[in-house]
C-alpha cells in the first residue's frame, strides 16, 4: 500500500526535517499550483515521470522555468535519441502510487518506486526552499532541497543533482554523462560494496576485507582464542573463500529475507564454492611463485 500524505509528513517530522505546509484545492498543473503558492518565496517544481524503452522509470524534478529537453536527456543517459518518453498514466498510480497530476520526488518513499531514478534540478540548490506535493494534490509543502535529498537517501533511493539545461556532446569519445543514473539490477551493487565495507558480521572472524596479507595480529585477541592459528587465516584458500561466501550470504539474506536468502545462498554455495576454492589455491600458488622467483634472483647482499 502506498504511503499517505499523513504518513509521509509524520516521517518528515520524525526525522526533524523542517517544512511548511500549505493546503489548497486540488491542482493538476503547475500553473494551478502557482495560483496558491506562487507568491511565496521559493522554487516551484515541475515533475516529469518518464520511462525508457527498457521499462525503466525516471522522475525529473525541475524548477518550473528550467527548460527540459527529453531528447537531450535521453542521450545524456545513454539511451539514444528517442529513448525517453512520458510514462503512461497507469504507471503513475502503479509505480509512484500517487494520483495523476501529483508526480513528486516524495513518491520514491514507496517500495514500488524503489528502482525509479530521481534527477533533481541543480537550480534547486540556490533556492531557499522548494515546493513539492506531499503525495497529494491538495497540499504543497516547502522545504530545503538538501533536506529532501537527505530524506530520500535515507530510504535508500538513487538521487542526483543534474544541470538539466546542459547539452554536452555525446559520442564515441564522450560517453553519456548521466549514464550512471540509469536504474538497473546492478544499481544495488554500489550499495552492496558500501554496505559490506561497513559490515561487522561476526566478531569471531577477522574483519578486514582487503587481501593484502597484512595479517594484523592486533585484530582482536578474541579471534586468537577461537581460531588458534589466526596468524595464517589468509594463507588458507578455503578459509578465505568461506569468508567471502559468508559476506555474500549476509547480503543475500538482507536482500531477500531470511528463508529465501538462505535457500538461494545454499545453492550458490554448493555450485560455486569448489570452483572458487580451486581458483584461490591457484592464486596462492602464483603469489608464492612470484615471491620465490624474486627471492632466488636477488643479488647477494653486499657486505
Amino acid at each position: 500500500m502506498g504511503f499517505s500524505k499523513e504518513q509521509l509528513l509524520e516521517r518528515l517530522q520524525a526525522q526533524q526535517i523542517k517544512f511548511s505546509q500549505y493546503e489548497h484545492p486540488v491542482v493538476m498543473t503547475v500553473e494551478a499550483q502557482a495560483k496558491y503558492v506562487g507568491h511565496i518565496k521559493g522554487g516551484l517544481s515541475k515533475n516529469l515521470f518518464l520511462k525508457d524503452k527498457k521499462h525503466r522509470f525516471y522522475i525529473v524534478s525541475a524548477l518550473s522555468d528550467t527548460k527540459v529537453d527529453l531528447k537531450v536527456l535521453s542521450q545524456r543517459l545513454g539511451l539514444g535519441k528517442g529513448g525517453l518518453r512520458m510514462a503512461p498514466e497507469e504507471a503513475v498510480g502503479e509505480i509512484l502510487q500517487v494520483p495523476l497530476g501529483c508526480v513528486t520526488p516524495f513518491a520514491l518513499v514507496n517500495e514500488s518506486a524503489q528502482h525509479v531514478s530521481l534527477m533533481l534540478d541543480e537550480g534547486f540548490k540556490t533556492q531557499e526552499c522548494c515546493f513539492f506535493h506531499p503525495l497529494s494534490n491538495d497540499t504543497t509543502i516547502s522545504l530545503h532541497i538538501q533536506d529532501l535529498h537527505k530524506f530520500l537517501k535515507s530510504v535508500g533511493r538513487m538521487v542526483a543533482y543534474v544541470d538539466l539545461e546542459a547539452n554536452p556532446p555525446v559520442g564515441k569519445d564522450q560517453p553519456p554523462d548521466l549514464a550512471a543514473l540509469v536504474p538497473s539490477d546492478t544499481s544495488s551493487i554500489t550499495d552492496v560494496s558500501e554496505k559490506t565495507a561497513a559490515l561487522q558480521i561476526d566478531n569471531s572472524k577477522p574483519v578486514s576485507v582487503t587481501v593484502t596479507g597484512k595479517v594484523s595480529k592486533v585484530s582482536s585477541g578474541q579471534q586468537k582464542e577461537k581460531m588458534g592459528n589466526t596468524g595464517n587465516s589468509f594463507a588458507d584458500p578455503e578459509k578465505l573463500i568461506e569468508e567471502i561466501l559468508e559476506k555474500i550470504k549476509v547480503e543475500n539474506i538482507k536482500q531477500h529475507g531470511e528463508q529465501l536468502g538462505d535457500v538461494a545462498f545454499a545453492r550458490l554455495h554448493k555450485n560455486l564454492s569448489s570452483d572458487l576454492k580451486s581458483l584461490a589455491v591457484m592464486f596462492k600458488n602464483t603469489a608464492y611463485t612470484e615471491g620465490f622467483f624474486a627471492g632466488t634472483h636477488c643479488p647477494p647482499k653486499r657486505l
Binding site: S278, V281, M282, K284, T289
Partner: protein, 401 residues
C-alpha cells in the same frame, strides 16, 4: 601380519590375473577380493569413511564414498595417531612415461589433494623419470622433460605450494636420500627382489636396483630440508593397488632401519572405456579420456567406445534393464558424479530399463567434459616458474598449519 611370499609372483602369473607395477591384465574382471587376499592388505570399510568424516569435519571425498579407494595397510594407525595430535605426511608419485595424461592417472592425485586439504599435512611427490628411462628405454633428457610436463598436470590438480614438494629422481637422488637407498638395498636380497617383482636373469641391473628409489620417500629422513629431526613422522601413501609390491618390501625393511612402516591407502583401477578387463593404457588413445581431449573428442569416445551394459534392443532393455556390473558409463559416473542422490536415481532408472544407454552416456559426457575443462583451465595457469618453485629444495615452514 603379512607374509614374504617368494613364489607369490609365480603363483599370480599362473592364475588368470596379473597385477604388478608394470602389468595389469586379467582374463575377466579383476577380482579385487582375491587381490586383497594375495597381497595381504585390508579392506577399507564404511567405518573408516565415517571416521575420516568425523576427524576432518568435511564430506569425505567421492573416491572414499564410492569405494574407489578400497584397501589399506595401517590406515587405522594413521587415524589413531592423528586423533592424538600426531601429524603425518603424504607420499605419492608418478612414472612419467608419456606426455598425455588420462583421467585414470589423475585419480590418485585428486584423492591426495583432498587428503592434503582435509588433514592439513605436507606432501612429497616423486617423479620416477629414472624408472621410465630404464623400463621404457627413453633418453635421460626425454624422461626429465616428461617429468616436468607431467608435473604441470599434477600441479593443476590443486596442490598447495606451501606444503608440497615435487621432485624428480634424476634431480634429487643423492645426499640423505641416497644414504637411505643404500640402507634399504642392504636389507633386500637378490632372491627376494626377484620374488617380489619377477625379475629374470635377462633384466639389466638398473631395474634390479631400482626398487629402493621408490621405497625411501616413505622415510622422513630422506628429506632433511623438510623433516629434519622428525624421524618418527608417519607416512601415508595413496596409490593404485598395483604399486603394493614396492611398499610390501618397504614395510618389511622399515623396522630393521628403525623407521615407522609407511601406511597405504589403495585404489582400484580405472577401467578402460572398452571394459573391465584391464586398466587404461596410455598407448591406446581410445581406451581412455585424456586431459587434452576436446569436448567433441570426449563425446565421440564415449558414444563410440564406452562399453555398454544395455541390452541389444529397446524392448529387451525396457524389460530386463541394464547390466550395471559391466556398464562402463555407469562405472565412470560412480567415480565422478558428485551427487550421491543423482547417482542412485540413475542406478534405479538405468538398472530397471527406464533409462536408455544414450541418456546415461549423455550424462557421462557432461560430467567428464566439466572435469576436463576445469583441469585444462587450471593447467593453463601453471607456469614454468611455478614448477621450479614446487621442485625447489626449500623448507616448508607452514606445512602443518
Amino acid at each position: 601380519m603379512e607374509h614374504e611370499n617368494e613364489n607369490e609372483t609365480k603363483a599370480l602369473q599362473e592364475q588368470e590375473q596379473v597385477v604388478n607395477p608394470w602389468e595389469v591384465s586379467s582374463k575377466g574382471k579383476i577380482d579385487y577380493d582375491k587381490l586383497i587376499d594375495k597381497f595381504g592388505c585390508q579392506r577399507l570399510d564404511q567405518s573408516f569413511v565415517d571416521r575420516v568424516f568425523r576427524l576432518t569435519s568435511r564430506t569425505p571425498h567421492i573416491f572414499l564414498r564410492r569405494n574407489v579407494f578400497f584397501a589399506h595397510r595401517d590406515f587405522n594407525e594413521i587415524l589413531d595417531a592423528y586423533e592424538r595430535g600426531e601429524k603425518f605426511y603424504l607420499y605419492t608419485g608418478r612414472g612419467p612415461s608419456s606426455e598425455a595424461l588420462h583421467l585414470g592417472h589423475l585419480v590418485p592425485f585428486m584423492f591426495t589433494k583432498y587428503l592434503q586439504e582435509a588433514f592439513k599435512v605436507p606432501l612429497v611427490i616423486q617423479l620416477t623419470d629414472d624408472e621410465k628411462c630404464m623400463w621404457k628405454n627413453l633418453t635421460v633428457e626425454e624422461s626429465k622433460r616428461l617429468a616436468r610436463e607431467n608435473a604441470k598436470d599434477i600441479i593443476a590438480c590443486g596442490f598447495d605450494l606451501s606444503r608440497t614438494f615435487i621432485f624428480s629422481d634424476f634431480d634429487y637422488v643423492g645426499g640423505a636420500f641416497y644414504e637411505n637407498m643404500v640402507k634399504v638395498a642392504k636389507c633386500v636380497t637378490y632372491n627376494k627382489v626377484v620374488g617380489i617383482f619377477g625379475f629374470t636373469g635377462e633384466d639389466h641391473i638398473g631395474k634390479i636396483s631400482f626398487p629402493p628409489v621408490q621405497a625411501v620417500p616413505s622415510f622422513p629422513s630422506s628429506f632433511p630440508h623438510l623433516f629434519k629431526g622428525n624421524d618418527k613422522l608417519r607416512c601415508l601413501i595413496p596409490c593404485a593397488i598395483d604399486q603394493d609390491p614396492y611398499f610390501r618390501m618397504t614395510r618389511d625393511v622399515a623396522p630393521r632401519l628403525g623407521y615407522n612402516k609407511p601406511a597405504l591407502i589403495e585404489s582400484l583401477f580405472f577401467p578402460a572405456l572398452q571394459g573391465e578387463t584391464g586398466k587404461m593404457s596410455a598407448s591406446d588413445a581410445n581406451s581412455a579420456i585424456y586431459v587434452t581431449d576436446s569436448q567433441k573428442e570426449i563425446k565421440n569416445k564415449v558414444n563410440r567406445y564406452a562399453f555398454s551394459g544395455g541390452q541389444d534392443s529397446i524392448e529387451k532393455h525396457r524389460q530386463l534393464g541394464a547390466n550395471l556390473e559391466v556398464d562402463i558409463p555407469f562405472k565412470y559416473l560412480s567415480f565422478f558424479l558428485e551427487d550421491d542422490e543423482e547417482l542412485e536415481h540413475i542406478r534405479k532408472e538405468y538398472g530397471s530399463g527406464r533409462m536408455l544407454t544414450g541418456e546415461i552416456k549423455k550424462k557421462l559426457i557432461e560430467v567428464l567434459t566439466e572435469i576436463v575443462e576445469k583441469h585444462r583451465a587450471a593447467r593453463a595457469k601453471v607456469t614454468d616458474e611455478m614448477v621450479d618453485a614446487f621442485m625447489a629444495v626449500r623448507p616448508l615452514p607452514n606445512m602443518f598449519n
